[in-house]
Protein backbone atom coordinates (compact mmCIF):
# COMPACT_ATOMS: atom_id res chain seq x y z
CA UNK A 1 0.00 0.00 0.00
CA UNK A 2 1.42 3.31 -0.97
CA UNK A 3 1.58 6.08 1.53
CA UNK A 4 2.40 9.66 0.59
CA UNK A 5 5.02 8.80 -2.04
CA UNK A 6 3.62 8.08 -5.43
CA UNK A 7 5.75 5.55 -7.24
CA UNK A 8 3.81 6.05 -10.46
CA UNK A 9 5.43 9.36 -11.29
CA UNK A 10 6.93 9.63 -14.70
CA UNK A 11 10.49 10.95 -14.76
CA UNK A 12 11.88 13.15 -17.48
CA UNK A 13 8.86 14.88 -18.48
CA UNK A 14 5.30 13.95 -18.21
CA UNK A 15 3.09 14.81 -15.28
CA UNK A 16 -0.70 15.11 -15.19
CA UNK A 17 -2.99 17.67 -13.60
CA UNK A 18 -6.74 18.16 -13.39
CA UNK A 19 -8.71 21.34 -14.08
CA UNK A 20 -12.01 21.18 -12.22
CA UNK A 21 -13.68 24.05 -14.10
CA UNK A 22 -12.90 25.83 -17.36
CA UNK A 23 -12.52 29.20 -15.64
CA UNK A 24 -9.91 27.92 -13.13
CA UNK A 25 -6.43 29.39 -13.10
CA UNK A 26 -5.04 26.48 -11.09
CA UNK A 27 -4.98 22.71 -11.66
CA UNK A 28 -4.50 19.87 -9.18
CA UNK A 29 -1.52 17.57 -9.76
CA UNK A 30 -2.63 13.97 -10.38
CA UNK A 31 1.02 12.88 -10.29
CA UNK A 32 3.99 14.56 -8.66
CA UNK A 33 5.98 16.80 -10.99
CA UNK A 34 9.49 18.20 -10.97
CA UNK A 35 10.95 21.38 -12.38
CA UNK A 36 11.05 21.11 -16.17
CA UNK A 37 8.33 18.48 -16.47
CA UNK A 38 5.57 19.00 -18.97
CA UNK A 39 2.14 18.79 -17.35
CA UNK A 40 -0.70 17.39 -19.42
CA UNK A 41 -3.99 18.96 -18.38
CA UNK A 42 -7.14 16.89 -18.04
CA UNK A 43 -10.62 17.65 -16.78
CA UNK A 44 -12.45 20.78 -17.82
CA UNK A 45 -9.41 22.33 -19.50
CA UNK A 46 -10.20 25.03 -22.08
CA UNK A 47 -8.78 24.41 -25.55
CA UNK A 48 -6.10 27.10 -25.33
CA UNK A 49 -4.53 25.25 -22.41
CA UNK A 50 -2.80 22.11 -23.58
CA UNK A 51 0.39 21.61 -21.66
CA UNK A 52 2.16 23.56 -18.94
CA UNK A 53 5.89 23.59 -18.22
CA UNK A 54 6.55 23.13 -14.52
CA UNK A 55 8.79 25.83 -13.05
CA UNK A 56 9.24 24.04 -9.73
CA UNK A 57 8.56 20.68 -8.12
CA UNK A 58 4.97 20.14 -6.97
CA UNK A 59 3.68 17.19 -4.92
CA UNK A 60 0.71 15.14 -6.04
CA UNK A 61 -2.65 16.67 -4.99
CA UNK A 62 -1.09 20.14 -4.79
CA UNK A 63 -1.84 22.94 -7.24
CA UNK A 64 -0.08 24.38 -10.27
CA UNK A 65 -0.91 27.73 -11.88
CA UNK A 66 -2.16 27.17 -15.42
CA UNK A 67 -2.11 30.90 -16.23
CA UNK A 68 0.02 33.66 -14.77
CA UNK A 69 -1.66 35.12 -11.71
CA UNK A 70 -0.96 38.75 -10.74
CA UNK A 71 -0.51 39.90 -7.13
CA UNK A 72 -3.93 40.28 -5.49
CA UNK A 73 -5.67 38.47 -8.36
CA UNK A 74 -8.30 35.88 -7.42
CA UNK A 75 -7.22 32.26 -7.38
CA UNK A 76 -10.03 30.25 -9.00
CA UNK A 77 -10.68 26.53 -8.50
CA UNK A 78 -14.01 24.67 -9.04
CA UNK A 79 -15.03 27.88 -10.87
CA UNK A 80 -15.05 29.74 -7.54
CA UNK A 81 -12.62 31.90 -5.60
CA UNK A 82 -10.41 30.06 -3.11
CA UNK A 83 -8.28 33.08 -2.17
CA UNK A 84 -6.07 35.82 -3.59
CA UNK A 85 -2.48 35.66 -4.79
CA UNK A 86 -0.15 37.41 -2.34
CA UNK A 87 2.64 37.55 -4.96
CA UNK A 88 2.88 37.12 -8.72
CA UNK A 89 2.60 33.46 -9.69
CA UNK A 90 3.77 32.46 -13.19
CA UNK A 91 2.06 29.72 -15.18
CA UNK A 92 3.73 26.49 -14.08
CA UNK A 93 4.36 27.84 -10.58
CA UNK A 94 3.45 26.09 -7.33
CA UNK A 95 0.28 27.58 -5.79
CA UNK A 96 -0.07 27.07 -2.06
CA UNK A 97 0.06 28.81 1.34
CA UNK A 98 3.29 30.63 0.45
CA UNK A 99 1.60 32.70 -2.25
CA UNK A 100 -2.16 32.56 -1.59
CA UNK A 101 -4.12 34.15 1.22
CA UNK A 102 -7.66 33.37 2.29
CA UNK A 103 -10.32 36.01 1.85
CA UNK A 104 -12.39 34.42 4.58
CA UNK A 105 -9.76 34.31 7.31
CA UNK A 106 -8.72 37.94 7.73
CA UNK A 107 -5.12 38.50 8.66
CA UNK A 108 -4.12 34.87 8.28
CA UNK A 109 -1.44 33.88 5.85
CA UNK A 110 -3.77 31.21 4.68
Amino acid sequence: METGNDTNRTCGGDARAWIAHETDNVATMLTPGTNGDTVRLAGDAPEDLGRILLLESIPVDHKVAVRSIAPDELVIKFGARIGRASTAIPAGGYVHVQNVRSERVPGAGR
Binding site: M1, A20, T28, H62, K63, V75, K77, E103, R104, V105
Partner: protein
Protein backbone atom coordinates in the same frame (compact mmCIF):
# COMPACT_ATOMS: atom_id res chain seq x y z
CA UNK B 1 -44.85 9.46 -11.50
CA UNK B 2 -41.71 10.96 -12.97
CA UNK B 3 -40.76 7.71 -14.62
CA UNK B 4 -37.98 6.87 -12.15
CA UNK B 5 -39.38 3.81 -10.47
CA UNK B 6 -37.89 1.59 -7.79
CA UNK B 7 -39.32 -1.32 -5.84
CA UNK B 8 -40.14 -0.29 -2.28
CA UNK B 9 -42.46 -1.01 0.62
CA UNK B 10 -45.51 1.25 0.80
CA UNK B 11 -46.30 2.08 4.45
CA UNK B 12 -49.86 2.67 5.72
CA UNK B 13 -49.37 6.47 5.59
CA UNK B 14 -48.23 6.33 1.97
CA UNK B 15 -44.53 6.81 2.67
CA UNK B 16 -42.00 4.43 1.14
CA UNK B 17 -39.47 2.23 2.87
CA UNK B 18 -36.58 0.50 1.11
CA UNK B 19 -35.77 -1.79 4.07
CA UNK B 20 -37.90 -3.53 6.66
CA UNK B 21 -36.24 -2.80 9.99
CA UNK B 22 -37.88 -3.96 13.21
CA UNK B 23 -36.78 -0.97 15.21
CA UNK B 24 -36.26 -1.37 18.94
CA UNK B 25 -36.15 2.06 20.48
CA UNK B 26 -35.08 2.59 24.11
CA UNK B 27 -35.92 6.14 25.24
CA UNK B 28 -33.06 6.25 27.74
CA UNK B 29 -29.73 4.56 28.42
CA UNK B 30 -31.25 2.60 31.32
CA UNK B 31 -33.47 0.83 28.81
CA UNK B 32 -30.64 -0.04 26.39
CA UNK B 33 -30.15 -3.48 27.93
CA UNK B 34 -33.85 -4.20 27.48
CA UNK B 35 -33.51 -3.29 23.81
CA UNK B 36 -30.51 -5.56 23.26
CA UNK B 37 -32.23 -8.49 25.01
CA UNK B 38 -35.49 -7.99 23.12
CA UNK B 39 -33.82 -7.80 19.71
CA UNK B 40 -31.25 -10.54 20.24
CA UNK B 41 -31.46 -13.25 17.59
CA UNK B 42 -34.63 -11.95 15.94
CA UNK B 43 -34.30 -11.54 12.18
CA UNK B 44 -34.40 -7.88 11.14
CA UNK B 45 -34.62 -6.51 14.70
CA UNK B 46 -32.27 -3.64 15.42
CA UNK B 47 -31.80 -1.98 18.83
CA UNK B 48 -30.92 1.70 18.30
CA UNK B 49 -28.96 2.43 21.46
CA UNK B 50 -28.19 6.02 22.36
CA UNK B 51 -26.42 7.97 25.07
CA UNK B 52 -29.68 9.60 26.23
CA UNK B 53 -29.41 10.10 30.02
CA UNK B 54 -31.72 11.70 32.57
CA UNK B 55 -29.24 14.52 32.93
CA UNK B 56 -29.94 16.57 29.82
CA UNK B 57 -32.07 19.69 29.85
CA UNK B 58 -34.60 21.60 27.73
CA UNK B 59 -33.59 21.81 24.10
CA UNK B 60 -31.38 18.71 24.25
CA UNK B 61 -34.20 16.54 25.58
CA UNK B 62 -36.51 18.08 23.01
CA UNK B 63 -34.09 17.31 20.17
CA UNK B 64 -33.58 13.75 21.45
CA UNK B 65 -37.34 13.22 21.62
CA UNK B 66 -37.72 14.55 18.07
CA UNK B 67 -35.04 12.07 17.02
CA UNK B 68 -36.70 9.12 18.72
CA UNK B 69 -39.98 9.98 17.03
CA UNK B 70 -38.20 10.60 13.73
CA UNK B 71 -36.42 7.22 13.83
CA UNK B 72 -39.70 5.51 14.59
CA UNK B 73 -41.39 7.36 11.74
CA UNK B 74 -38.53 6.68 9.29
CA UNK B 75 -40.19 4.70 6.48
CA UNK B 76 -37.43 2.07 6.63
CA UNK B 77 -38.80 1.04 10.04
CA UNK B 78 -41.54 -1.52 9.40
CA UNK B 79 -42.54 -1.86 13.06
CA UNK B 80 -41.37 -0.13 16.22
CA UNK B 81 -40.97 -1.38 19.79
CA UNK B 82 -40.54 1.55 22.20
CA UNK B 83 -38.94 0.69 25.53
CA UNK B 84 -38.58 2.71 28.72
CA UNK B 85 -38.17 2.43 32.44
CA UNK B 86 -41.05 4.72 33.36
CA UNK B 87 -39.06 7.50 35.00
CA UNK B 88 -37.30 8.55 31.80
CA UNK B 89 -36.70 12.19 30.82
CA UNK B 90 -38.51 11.42 27.56
CA UNK B 91 -41.82 9.62 28.05
CA UNK B 92 -41.93 6.36 26.10
CA UNK B 93 -45.70 6.75 25.58
CA UNK B 94 -45.28 10.13 23.91
CA UNK B 95 -42.74 8.67 21.49
CA UNK B 96 -44.91 5.64 20.77
CA UNK B 97 -48.04 7.73 20.22
CA UNK B 98 -46.25 10.01 17.75
CA UNK B 99 -44.86 7.05 15.82
CA UNK B 100 -48.26 5.31 15.84
CA UNK B 101 -49.67 8.17 13.72
CA UNK B 102 -47.87 6.61 10.75
CA UNK B 103 -50.17 3.60 10.99
CA UNK B 104 -47.26 1.16 11.27
CA UNK B 105 -47.32 -1.43 14.09
CA UNK B 106 -46.04 0.13 17.33
CA UNK B 107 -45.97 -1.14 20.86
CA UNK B 108 -44.63 0.41 24.03
CA UNK B 109 -43.32 -1.45 27.08
CA UNK B 110 -42.01 0.13 30.27
CA UNK B 111 -40.68 -1.48 33.44
CA UNK B 112 -43.13 0.40 35.66
CA UNK B 113 -46.10 -1.25 33.92
CA UNK B 114 -44.65 -4.75 33.79
CA UNK B 115 -44.11 -7.08 36.69
CA UNK B 116 -40.41 -7.41 36.10
CA UNK B 117 -37.45 -6.76 33.83
CA UNK B 118 -37.78 -10.31 32.48
CA UNK B 119 -41.46 -9.72 31.68
CA UNK B 120 -40.54 -6.67 29.56
CA UNK B 121 -38.00 -8.75 27.67
CA UNK B 122 -40.40 -11.66 27.23
CA UNK B 123 -43.27 -9.49 26.01
CA UNK B 124 -40.99 -7.49 23.72
CA UNK B 125 -39.55 -10.63 22.14
CA UNK B 126 -42.97 -12.15 21.53
CA UNK B 127 -44.14 -8.98 19.83
CA UNK B 128 -41.01 -8.75 17.66
CA UNK B 129 -41.30 -12.40 16.59
CA UNK B 130 -44.85 -11.69 15.43
CA UNK B 131 -43.67 -8.62 13.56
CA UNK B 132 -40.80 -10.53 11.93
CA UNK B 133 -43.38 -13.00 10.62
CA UNK B 134 -45.58 -10.16 9.29
CA UNK B 135 -42.63 -8.50 7.56
CA UNK B 136 -41.79 -11.70 5.70
CA UNK B 137 -45.16 -11.40 3.96
CA UNK B 138 -44.58 -7.84 2.74
CA UNK B 139 -43.92 -7.45 -0.97
CA UNK B 140 -42.17 -4.64 -2.76
CA UNK B 141 -44.15 -2.59 -5.26
CA UNK B 142 -43.29 0.03 -7.85
CA UNK B 143 -42.78 3.41 -6.20
CA UNK B 144 -41.56 6.77 -7.44
CA UNK B 145 -38.19 8.13 -6.27
CA UNK B 146 -40.09 11.33 -5.51
CA UNK B 147 -40.98 9.45 -2.31
CA UNK B 148 -37.33 9.00 -1.36
CA UNK B 149 -34.96 11.25 0.59
CA UNK B 150 -31.21 10.99 0.15
CA UNK B 151 -28.53 12.17 2.56
CA UNK B 152 -25.12 13.19 1.21
CA UNK B 153 -21.88 13.22 3.18
CA UNK B 154 -18.13 13.26 2.62
CA UNK B 155 -15.39 12.15 4.98
CA UNK B 156 -11.72 11.30 4.77
CA UNK B 157 -11.70 14.01 2.14
CA UNK B 158 -8.62 14.75 0.06
CA UNK B 159 -7.88 16.55 -3.19
CA UNK B 160 -9.35 13.69 -5.24
CA UNK B 161 -12.79 13.57 -3.60
CA UNK B 162 -13.30 17.22 -4.56
CA UNK B 163 -12.35 16.40 -8.17
CA UNK B 164 -14.17 13.09 -8.71
CA UNK B 165 -16.64 11.71 -6.14
CA UNK B 166 -18.11 14.98 -4.89
CA UNK B 167 -18.86 16.57 -8.28
CA UNK B 168 -20.24 13.23 -9.50
CA UNK B 169 -22.55 13.15 -6.46
CA UNK B 170 -23.48 16.76 -7.22
CA UNK B 171 -24.74 15.63 -10.62
CA UNK B 172 -26.73 12.81 -9.02
CA UNK B 173 -28.25 15.27 -6.53
CA UNK B 174 -29.41 17.58 -9.34
CA UNK B 175 -30.90 14.63 -11.21
CA UNK B 176 -32.59 13.30 -8.05
CA UNK B 177 -34.19 16.67 -7.35
CA UNK B 178 -35.26 17.12 -10.97
CA UNK B 179 -37.03 13.75 -10.67
CA UNK B 180 -39.02 15.11 -7.73
CA UNK B 181 -36.93 13.62 -4.92
CA UNK B 182 -35.57 15.12 -1.72
CA UNK B 183 -31.91 15.56 -0.73
CA UNK B 184 -30.54 16.61 2.66
CA UNK B 185 -26.99 17.84 3.16
CA UNK B 186 -25.51 18.91 6.48
CA UNK B 187 -22.15 19.44 8.22
CA UNK B 188 -22.62 23.10 9.09
CA UNK B 189 -19.05 23.26 10.40
CA UNK B 190 -17.80 22.37 6.93
CA UNK B 191 -19.75 25.19 5.30
CA UNK B 192 -17.73 27.93 6.99
CA UNK B 193 -15.97 29.68 4.13
CA UNK B 194 -18.44 28.59 1.49
CA UNK B 195 -21.63 29.92 3.09
CA UNK B 196 -21.76 32.82 0.61
CA UNK B 197 -22.15 30.34 -2.26
CA UNK B 198 -24.94 28.49 -0.48
CA UNK B 199 -26.69 31.72 0.49
CA UNK B 200 -26.70 32.68 -3.18
CA UNK B 201 -28.62 29.43 -3.84
CA UNK B 202 -31.26 30.04 -1.16
CA UNK B 203 -34.82 29.69 -2.47
CA UNK B 204 -35.96 32.71 -0.44
CA UNK B 205 -34.72 35.57 1.73
CA UNK B 206 -35.74 33.60 4.82
CA UNK B 207 -33.68 30.59 3.79
CA UNK B 208 -30.77 32.89 2.99
CA UNK B 209 -30.96 34.30 6.52
CA UNK B 210 -31.32 30.81 8.01
CA UNK B 211 -28.13 29.64 6.28
CA UNK B 212 -26.23 32.67 7.54
CA UNK B 213 -27.65 32.22 11.04
CA UNK B 214 -26.73 28.55 11.46
CA UNK B 215 -23.20 29.16 10.18
CA UNK B 216 -22.78 32.18 12.47
CA UNK B 217 -24.14 30.24 15.46
CA UNK B 218 -21.72 27.40 14.69
CA UNK B 219 -18.77 29.80 14.56
CA UNK B 220 -19.88 31.36 17.87
CA UNK B 221 -20.21 27.97 19.56
CA UNK B 222 -16.70 27.03 18.49
CA UNK B 223 -15.33 30.43 19.51
CA UNK B 224 -16.94 30.05 22.94
CA UNK B 225 -14.49 27.20 23.57
CA UNK B 226 -11.58 29.56 22.91
CA UNK B 227 -10.87 28.20 19.42
CA UNK B 228 -11.01 30.29 16.25
CA UNK B 229 -12.62 27.96 13.72
CA UNK B 230 -11.30 30.02 10.83
CA UNK B 231 -7.73 30.15 12.14
CA UNK B 232 -7.51 26.36 12.51
CA UNK B 233 -8.80 25.51 9.05
CA UNK B 234 -7.50 24.04 6.91
CA UNK B 235 -5.71 21.75 9.35
CA UNK B 236 -1.95 21.11 9.04
CA UNK B 237 -2.84 17.71 7.58
CA UNK B 238 -5.09 19.36 4.98
CA UNK B 239 -2.27 21.75 4.05
CA UNK B 240 0.18 18.86 3.66
CA UNK B 241 -2.46 17.28 1.43
CA UNK B 242 -2.51 20.34 -0.83
CA UNK B 243 -5.47 22.33 0.50
CA UNK B 244 -4.48 25.99 0.73
CA UNK B 245 -7.42 27.91 2.20
CA UNK B 246 -10.57 27.36 4.21
CA UNK B 247 -12.68 28.28 1.21
CA UNK B 248 -10.93 25.68 -0.95
CA UNK B 249 -11.67 22.98 1.63
CA UNK B 250 -15.31 24.02 2.08
CA UNK B 251 -15.90 24.37 -1.67
CA UNK B 252 -14.70 20.83 -2.26
CA UNK B 253 -17.38 19.55 0.11
CA UNK B 254 -20.14 21.81 -1.17
CA UNK B 255 -19.67 20.43 -4.70
CA UNK B 256 -21.67 17.35 -3.71
CA UNK B 257 -24.76 19.51 -3.14
CA UNK B 258 -25.09 20.10 -6.88
CA UNK B 259 -26.59 23.32 -8.17
CA UNK B 260 -30.29 23.39 -7.28
CA UNK B 261 -31.89 25.95 -4.91
CA UNK B 262 -31.79 25.33 -1.16
CA UNK B 263 -35.40 25.05 0.03
CA UNK B 264 -34.99 25.12 3.80
CA UNK B 265 -32.71 24.86 6.81
CA UNK B 266 -33.97 22.57 9.58
CA UNK B 267 -32.57 21.57 12.98
CA UNK B 268 -31.08 18.22 13.99
CA UNK B 269 -34.02 16.00 14.92
CA UNK B 270 -36.27 17.75 12.43
CA UNK B 271 -37.56 16.72 9.02
CA UNK B 272 -37.49 18.60 5.69
CA UNK B 273 -40.79 19.88 4.40
CA UNK B 274 -41.33 19.09 0.74
CA UNK B 275 -39.04 17.96 -2.06
CA UNK B 276 -35.80 19.56 -3.24
CA UNK B 277 -32.54 20.33 -1.48
CA UNK B 278 -32.43 21.04 2.27
CA UNK B 279 -29.76 21.80 4.88
CA UNK B 280 -29.82 20.01 8.24
CA UNK B 281 -27.97 21.99 10.92
CA UNK B 282 -25.53 19.52 12.50
CA UNK B 283 -21.77 19.36 12.99
CA UNK B 284 -19.67 17.04 10.81
CA UNK B 285 -19.57 14.22 13.39
CA UNK B 286 -20.54 10.96 11.69
CA UNK B 287 -22.70 9.35 14.44
CA UNK B 288 -24.74 12.50 15.01
CA UNK B 289 -25.15 13.01 11.28
CA UNK B 290 -26.39 9.45 10.73
CA UNK B 291 -28.85 9.87 13.60
CA UNK B 292 -29.98 13.19 12.13
CA UNK B 293 -30.56 11.80 8.63
CA UNK B 294 -32.42 8.80 10.00
CA UNK B 295 -34.63 11.13 12.06
CA UNK B 296 -35.19 13.34 9.01
CA UNK B 297 -36.76 10.37 7.25
CA UNK B 298 -33.89 9.80 4.81
CA UNK B 299 -33.98 6.29 3.37
CA UNK B 300 -30.47 6.20 1.86
CA UNK B 301 -27.11 7.98 2.19
CA UNK B 302 -24.34 8.64 -0.35
CA UNK B 303 -20.98 8.74 1.45
CA UNK B 304 -17.94 10.07 -0.42
CA UNK B 305 -14.43 9.21 0.77
CA UNK B 306 -11.16 10.59 -0.60
CA UNK B 307 -8.29 8.33 0.28
CA UNK B 308 -5.71 7.61 2.94
CA UNK B 309 -6.39 5.80 6.19
CA UNK B 310 -10.16 6.56 6.23
CA UNK B 311 -10.48 4.70 2.93
CA UNK B 312 -8.78 1.63 4.39
CA UNK B 313 -11.44 1.08 7.08
CA UNK B 314 -13.77 -1.61 5.70
CA UNK B 315 -16.68 -0.39 7.82
CA UNK B 316 -17.44 3.32 8.10
CA UNK B 317 -15.34 6.05 9.64
CA UNK B 318 -16.77 7.36 12.88
CA UNK B 319 -18.71 4.18 13.63
CA UNK B 320 -17.82 0.65 14.65
CA UNK B 321 -20.94 -0.95 13.20
CA UNK B 322 -21.06 0.51 9.69
CA UNK B 323 -24.00 2.78 10.31
CA UNK B 324 -27.66 2.29 11.20
CA UNK B 325 -29.76 -0.28 9.32
CA UNK B 326 -32.44 2.42 8.93
CA UNK B 327 -30.10 4.21 6.53
CA UNK B 328 -28.39 2.06 3.86
CA UNK B 329 -25.16 3.74 2.77
CA UNK B 330 -23.62 3.80 -0.71
CA UNK B 331 -19.85 4.24 -0.21
CA UNK B 332 -17.94 6.06 -2.95
CA UNK B 333 -14.13 6.14 -3.28
CA UNK B 334 -12.21 8.76 -5.26
CA UNK B 335 -8.47 8.31 -4.81
CA UNK B 336 -6.88 6.21 -7.61
CA UNK B 337 -3.93 5.39 -5.34
CA UNK B 338 -6.13 3.39 -2.90
CA UNK B 339 -6.09 0.19 -4.94
CA UNK B 340 -6.58 -2.26 -2.06
CA UNK B 341 -9.40 -0.25 -0.51
CA UNK B 342 -11.64 -0.39 -3.57
CA UNK B 343 -13.17 -3.62 -2.30
CA UNK B 344 -14.65 -1.69 0.63
CA UNK B 345 -16.68 0.59 -1.61
CA UNK B 346 -19.78 0.32 -3.77
CA UNK B 347 -18.50 2.81 -6.33
CA UNK B 348 -14.99 3.71 -7.46
CA UNK B 349 -15.10 7.24 -8.87
CA UNK B 350 -11.37 7.71 -9.46
CA UNK B 351 -11.58 6.49 -13.05
CA UNK B 352 -12.51 10.07 -13.92
CA UNK B 353 -9.04 11.21 -12.87
CA UNK B 354 -7.32 8.24 -14.52
CA UNK B 355 -8.98 9.10 -17.82
CA UNK B 356 -10.82 5.76 -18.00
CA UNK B 357 -14.32 7.09 -17.30
CA UNK B 358 -16.25 10.33 -17.70
CA UNK B 359 -17.82 12.28 -14.86
CA UNK B 360 -21.24 11.52 -16.35
CA UNK B 361 -20.33 7.84 -16.49
CA UNK B 362 -19.44 7.74 -12.78
CA UNK B 363 -22.52 9.79 -11.94
CA UNK B 364 -24.67 7.31 -13.82
CA UNK B 365 -23.19 4.36 -11.91
CA UNK B 366 -23.87 6.15 -8.58
CA UNK B 367 -27.42 6.81 -9.80
CA UNK B 368 -27.97 3.18 -10.81
CA UNK B 369 -26.49 1.83 -7.56
CA UNK B 370 -28.71 4.17 -5.55
CA UNK B 371 -31.82 2.98 -7.41
CA UNK B 372 -30.74 -0.65 -7.00
CA UNK B 373 -30.13 -0.08 -3.28
CA UNK B 374 -33.60 1.42 -3.03
CA UNK B 375 -35.02 -1.70 -4.67
CA UNK B 376 -33.34 -3.94 -2.13
CA UNK B 377 -29.85 -4.67 -3.47
CA UNK B 378 -27.42 -4.74 -0.58
CA UNK B 379 -24.61 -2.23 -0.24
CA UNK B 380 -21.05 -3.13 0.72
CA UNK B 381 -21.76 -2.23 4.36
CA UNK B 382 -24.88 -4.40 4.38
CA UNK B 383 -22.78 -7.34 3.15
CA UNK B 384 -19.81 -6.73 5.42
CA UNK B 385 -19.91 -8.97 8.53
CA UNK B 386 -19.93 -6.29 11.20
CA UNK B 387 -18.96 -6.96 14.79
CA UNK B 388 -20.02 -5.19 17.94
CA UNK B 389 -22.64 -2.84 19.26
CA UNK B 390 -22.59 0.93 19.08
CA UNK B 391 -23.96 3.40 21.60
CA UNK B 392 -24.95 6.31 19.38
CA UNK B 393 -23.85 9.71 20.61
CA UNK B 394 -26.61 12.31 20.62
CA UNK B 395 -25.99 15.94 19.74
CA UNK B 396 -25.82 17.88 23.01
CA UNK B 397 -25.63 21.65 23.03
CA UNK B 398 -26.61 22.62 26.55
CA UNK B 399 -25.24 21.76 30.00
CA UNK B 400 -25.60 18.33 31.60
CA UNK B 401 -26.75 18.21 35.23
Amino acid sequence: MTGEVVQGYRRPNGEVGIRNVLLVLPVAQCANELAVRCASGIDGAFPLLTTQPCAHLGEDNEAAKNCLIGWGRNPNAAAVLVLGIGCDAIAADEVADAVRETGKPVTCLTLDRCESWERVVGSGRCWLIDQARAVRGMVREAVDIADLTLGIKCGGSDATSALAGNPAIGGVVDRWIDAGGTVVFSETTELIGAEHLLMARAASENVRDDIENVVTATIERIEATGVDPRGTQPTPGNIRGGLTTLEEKSLGGVLKTGTRPIRSVFPWGGRPMGPGLHLMDCPANVPQLLLGWAAAGAQCLLFSVGGGLPARIPSLIGTNVGGIPLLPIVKILSNPRELDARAYFDIYAGGVLEGTETMDGVGDRIWQKTLATASGEHTWLERYPLQGIQMWELLVRGPTV
